[in-house]
Amino acid sequence: MSENFSAQEILDRARMQRIEKTVDIDEATVQLVVINIGTDFFAMPGPSIREILPPMPVTFVPGLPDHFLGIVNVRGDLESVIDLAKALHLSHTPGPLSRIMIAKAGELSSGFLVDYVHDIIDLPKSKITSGQKIPAGLKSEYITGEFEFKSKTVLVLDIHTVLNDMIRKPL
């Protein structure tokens, strides 16, 4: 049975629907850099990423833990480079699309080798849920949450915990 609405009621309903569809511009967002390691998707907080560099020669430094590839010279400043896949116990194949992301966490900073940088996005905080789909072997302390991006689950990395853990890891 169809309902009968007055013209005013129809206009009110249409207005309400428009309001419901409108994005809440006051909702807090977080900037994230979406990256790829092998087949896994991760995101790093945008404010902690200082620079994204193309592949460049890395100078090997003996005596460093395995996940350290060495150091690079970034316009006169030395930065260490950590193979993020090795650090997270994931498999990957670095290629021409690999990038070195210089991340800062407190007084520490380091480059992270990643396979691919997908995008830099502004995501409403409400879209990030607690991490449920953490791959086997990956420490749950490294993940602060997850969200959907292009039908893929993206895990948000706690770069501060990852970096501090990598540096303290014994040889």
């Binding site: 430094v61 003996p62 005596g63 400043d77 260490s80």
Partner: protein, 129 residues
């Protein structure tokens, strides 16, 4: 650069002994070295790769032995390039992430040397136990 030129620009520099090991180049400040043996005395020399913490032993293709000034230890190095002068302004200390990750500070900095494309990792022999 001549000594006179160094005085003119007021810049400090030092000499270092540069050699190759594995894929990299390494430098030891010349003032930490007493002498270099003309004929390698391999049997009583410590290989530098073990001192630096290489996990895999390196092949010594052109071994030389130098004697340290402080405790007269014999240390074996590979493929000697020679003495090079480096300005302090071209020496960059290791990032904090590297300093905190290493068991010791034997490699303390990286030097860029004019007319030499590769970075030189600087070794401080005083940090060697």
């Amino acid at each position: 650069m001549t000594v006179a030129e160094k005085k003119i620009d007021g810049d400090e520099s030092f000499e270092m002994l540069v050699f190759r090991l594995g894929q990299g180049c390494y430098g030891i400040p010349a003032n930490q070295i007493d002498s270099i043996e003309e004929k390698p005395v391999i049997e009583r020399a410590e290989p530098i790769d073990a001192i630096l913490g290489f996990r895999e032993r390196q092949e010594f293709k052109a071994p030389r032995v130098f004697i340290t000034k402080s405790d007269r230890r014999h240390i074996m190095i590979d493929r000697l390039i020679g003495l090079m002068s480096v300005h302090y302004r071209d020496v960059k200390t290791m990032p904090l992430s590297v300093k905190k990750s290493r068991a010791c500070d034997i490699i303390w900095a990286v030097a860029s040397v004019a007319q030499f494309d590769e970075p030189v990792l600087l070794i401080d022999l005083q940090q060697v136990n």
